[in-house]
């Protein structure tokens, strides 16, 4: 506890959000997550302006270039490898010949099988993946929470809403996606252009096919919460339902929502890559992290770097969102905030 004097001085400027922020700042993990996330965000927004290689340009002569880190494995030639990468040869025990190891500063983390620069793809792909991941997660979160809270709180709506949830859970995903593409792809493409149109379609699809679990979890928690004393008390003094929900219910179900949010980002980023396989995602030469990871999996033995970088990018994003969520939850919990 701080001294009484300090509390007095600070009290003037204290607001709820100021409190939340100061609590949030003390959470080391959350701050770290915030910094990492900011770096990623900066990388994908400003990165393509700093690293000007076109992610779609095929430099076919430079295909399957290794990342510069492979220089660390060239032993005595390491220094030469970093200064003059094209000159390096190493002994290939299988073929029993000296082979040129393909590294180049023009492609610091390597290229794919058609010679597209991985760094540029990673930076460009991050924009889409982050945008899809965040928006789709928010959409599914809002949908799930609204359905869950309404179903849990208003007994009359519980039956219909939960049966609708059952319906959505039961729908066969792939045929549903094919139907959605058929019905909406060309319309959206004409209305918003190929990229925005497909972006909206993808976010919509991921959003409406992934809210059900959140809804069920939230509803379960609300059902239990509704019978607690403080809600009964609020009810008995005539607090209107919407106020009870926003003031008393929502803050208390924040934990599962935060977990859903974190998991939702990862799911959305991965799902996006799966969608492109049905011909429903972005055009095939449009990089995204999920797509890079999927394409790289085939080359896992040839150039592991192709799976490591996008895998790392996705994991770091999800981890940082997770820690931010943790910090936010702690900061918003008045019982912890006081401590």
């Amino acid at each position: 506890m701080t001294s009484a004097d300090n509390t007095q001085v600070e009290a003037k400027n204290r607001s709820l959000w100021g409190d939340v922020w100061s609590q949030f700042r003390t959470h080391k993990g959350a701050m770290l997550g915030m910094i990492v996330f900011a770096i990623i965000l900066f990388g994908v927004t400003a990165g393509p302006f700093l690293w000007k290689t076109d992610p779609q340009y095929l430099d076919i002569r430079a295909k399957n270039t290794f990342p510069m880190v492979s220089c660390f494995f060239t032993g005595s030639q390491m220094a030469q490898c970093f200064t003059d990468p094209t000159s390096i040869k190493f002994f290939d025990p299988d073929a029993e010949v000296l082979e040129r190891i393909k590294v180049s500063w023009a492609h610091p983390i390597g290229t794919d099988q058609l010679g597209r620069d991985l760094l540029a793809q990673l930076l460009q792909g991050g924009r889409v993946s982050l945008a899809v991941g965040m928006t789709a997660m928010l959409l599914s979160l809002v949908l799930g929470t609204v359905v869950g809270v309404v179903a849990g709180y208003f007994k009359r709506l519980d039956g219909p809403l939960m049966r609708a949830t059952d319906l959505f859970l039961a729908l066969p995903l792939l045929p549903l996606l094919l139907v959605i593409i058929m019905l909406f792809r060309d319309t959206l493409r004409n209305a918003f252009g190929p990229e925005t149109g497909i972006f909206l379609l993808i976010v919509f699809i991921i959003g409406i096919t992934s809210w059900m679990q959140t809804a069920r979890i939230v509803r379960g928690d609300v059902l239990a919460l509704k019978e607690r004393e403080f809600i009964l008390a609020a009810n008995s003094i005539g607090t209107p339902s919407n106020r009870i929900i926003t003031r008393h219910i929502l803050p208390n179900i924040l934990s599962p929502i935060m977990v859903s949010a974190t998991l939702g980002v990862a799911t959305a980023i991965i799902t996006e890559s799966a969608l492109s396989f049905l011909g429903l995602g972005f055009p095939s030469d449009f990089p995204t992290w999920g797509r890079l990871l999927f394409d790289g999996t085939t080359f896992i033995q040839q150039s592991p770097a192709r799976v490591i970088w996008p895998g790392l990018a996705i994991s770091l994003t999800v981890l940082s969102v997770n820690f931010i969520g943790d910090g936010l939850r702690d900061a918003l919990d008045p019982r912890i905030r006081g401590r």
């Binding site: 095929l58 399957n64 058609l114 597209r116 058929m182 011909g279 095939s284 085939t298 040839q302």
Partner: protein, 570 residues
């Protein structure tokens, strides 16, 4: 690893010498079990109820035709004594009938003899209207099939057939047993699960257990005509997964002996082969990966008339200069190298094989020439706009380029997009799930028949060695349109009276040299007009373990055609 190899090698040498000592007569089933992996699983073992390659290849281990094609595309007698021809009197002078003689003494795996009645029954089974037979093309124009005696069958055609080898030839048209299938004709055909899953055949193997869409286990047929074959006592035919892991199972982990259709990145495949467990084999048939050029206008504004002749010609692809420029801007050798490796060569023909049908009149496009392509477009009046994209009279050279979803195809798309950008053509790529793209569903806008795009890419081929039906694909009557429910195979909507006349002439010509000349002429006509832009002559790629001997990859027939000759060795 090295040591393991040595031990395995010496062991197998020991085994071989001991079996050699046992006697000169080689017994059936001496080599144990052989494992085959197909990355598409077998759904049914009745080739008449499924046209899928995986189902036909699996059923060919059990069922056999009267004659087959060998690896060079020559016809060889299989259950018949010889190939009927006009010379040996097997084919009537007027080309309306063909008579097959069945080799005496062939038995079904249940011990009963194969007779002409079985052959007749097979034809009745497939030609039944209600049966949903998927191989009716083999029986086209067949009027009747009659048994002259126990071992002779005559097929009568409703019109002269210059190429009468449709029925009972090749893996898609094998003989089934009349006694087993007698209650399964017509509408009953799909309900005979037991028969469809466990057909009795004359082939080297018979079914032990069938698990649909998963795995088939087979054992050697004790009544097989050659008592020393097959060398394997049992066979496992596993399905599912993807091509890369199938290749890995043969080439790297050594769990399987044979893997089918390994369409994966060539560098990955060759790296896997470097592990030393197996060999990648390839052979060329007639398959050509090509771009179809839409000669009609696919603009969405046309509504119902979209991509039909009534909708009018394409705004810019109807210009021959544009089609030629698009074609020569492509580096086909690079496409073949990057996407297909040893299993692809650059081609400028839609009929690249067999040799007598292959034309060499179109080889201009084999060499990429961006400069010339630019020149052609400049001369034709297509000038570059501010963004580098050419346009003329307000028409921009902007192409929507669609294909099915497949890693190699998407790589090809990306490469072609870049070359076209160099000649001032803008490309938007689109890929569609194969089941939708090739599905032909009336309500879907994304089918390859509807062709609501400017360019589309896929592979087509013809079975066996006769291209007549294939060449007919590009006659005016084959143009898909709403009137014929989009059924038709003339995707470019190419319509030329001269071409149709050649097609008619082909159907009446019998001499092989004349047929070849006409086919070459038709091919050249299609190529010079640029209705299609061929890219790569594609081969089949498969892999077998080094210990599996006798594999001969055959693109003219089923891949499992000579499984009876497969043996285990080192």
């Amino acid at each position: 690893m090295k040591l393991t190899h040595f031990v395995a090698a010496s062991l197998s040498v020991a085994l071989m010498s001991s079996s050699a000592l046992a006697g000169s007569h080689l017994a059936q089933g001496r080599d144990g079990n052989v494992n085959i992996i197909y990355w598409q699983a077998v759904s049914i073992l009745n080739p008449f109820l499924s046209g899928g390659t995986k189902d036909i290849d699996a059923s060919n281990l059990i069922l056999e035709p009267l004659a087959r094609y060998d690896q060079d595309g020559n016809m060889i007698p299989w259950l018949a004594t010889e190939i009927p021809t006009v010379e040996n009197g097997g084919v009537a002078e007027d080309l309306t009938s063909i008579t097959w003689n069945i080799t005496p003494g062939i038995k079904w795996s249940d011990g009963t003899p194969l007779t002409a009645a079985d052959v007749v029954f097979t034809a009745e089974y497939c030609m039944n209207e209600d049966g949903g037979c998927q191989q009716t093309t083999s029986f086209s124009d067949v009027e009747s099939v009659v048994a002259d005696d126990d071992l002779t069958v005559t097929v009568k055609f409703s019109k002269p057939k210059p190429f009468p080898y449709g029925p009972f030839v090749g893996g898609t048209s094998p003989i089934i047993q009349a006694a087993q299938f007698k209650d399964c004709v017509g509408a009953e055909a799909p309900n005979c699960t037991e028969q469809n899953f466990n057909p009795i055949g004359t082939g080297p193997f018979k079914v032990d257990e069938f698990r649909a869409n998963d795995v088939v286990t087979m054992v050697a047929n004790p009544n097989y005509r050659d008592p020393s074959k097959p060398a394997f006592a049992s066979l496992t035919f596993k399905g599912g997964g993807d091509a890369a892991s199938a290749a890995r199972a043969v080439l790297e982990t050594g769990e399987f002996d044979y893997a089918w259709n390994l369409q994966i990145d060539p560098t990955v495949l060759s790296d896997m082969a470097a592990a030393g467990n197996g060999t990648v084999i390839s052979a060329f048939g007639t398959a050509v990966e090509r771009l179809m050029v839409n000669m009609t206008n696919p603009s969405a504004d046309l509504g119902e008339k979209r991509s039909t002749l009534e909708g009018g010609p394409h705004p810019f692809l109807s210009d021959p200069a544009v089609r030629r420029a698009l074609s020569i801007a492509i580096d086909r050798d690079l496409l073949a190298e990057v996407g297909y490796g040893a299993a692809g060569t650059a081609t400028c023909n839609v009929v690249p094989a067999p040799a007598i049908y292959a034309s060499d009149a179109n080889d201009e496009c084999l060499v990429q020439n961006i400069e010339l392509a630019n020149q052609i477009l400049d001369d034709a009046g297509w000038a570059r706009g501010a963004d580098g994209i050419r346009e003329k009279d307000g028409v921009r050279l902007s192409i929507l380029y669609q294909t099915s979803t497949n890693a190699v195809r998407q790589d090809t798309q990306a490469l072609i997009k870049q070359w076209w950008a160099e000649i001032g053509v803008e490309t938007e790529l689109k890929n569609i799930d194969a089941a939708v793209f090739f599905g032909g569903d009336q309500s879907s806008p994304d089918t390859f028949q509807k062709f609501y795009a400017d360019i589309e890419m896929y592979t087509n081929l013809f079975d066996g060695t006769d291209p007549e039906a294939y060449m007919n694909s590009w006659t005016c009557g084959e143009i898909p349109s709403p009137e014929n429910n989009w059924l038709g195979s003339n995707m470019p909507r190419y319509c030329n009276a001269e071409y149709d006349a050649l097609a008619a002439e082909l159907s009446e010509t019998a001499a092989i040299e004349d047929r070849a000349r006409i086919v070459r002429q038709m091919n050249d006509m299609l190529m010079s007009e640029g209705a299609m832009i061929p890219l790569v002559h594609r081969g089949r790629v498969s892999a077998h373990a080094n210990s599996l001997n006798g594999v001969i990859l055959n693109t003219w027939d089923s891949e499992t055609w000579n499984v009876a000759d497969w043996t285990r060795g080192e």
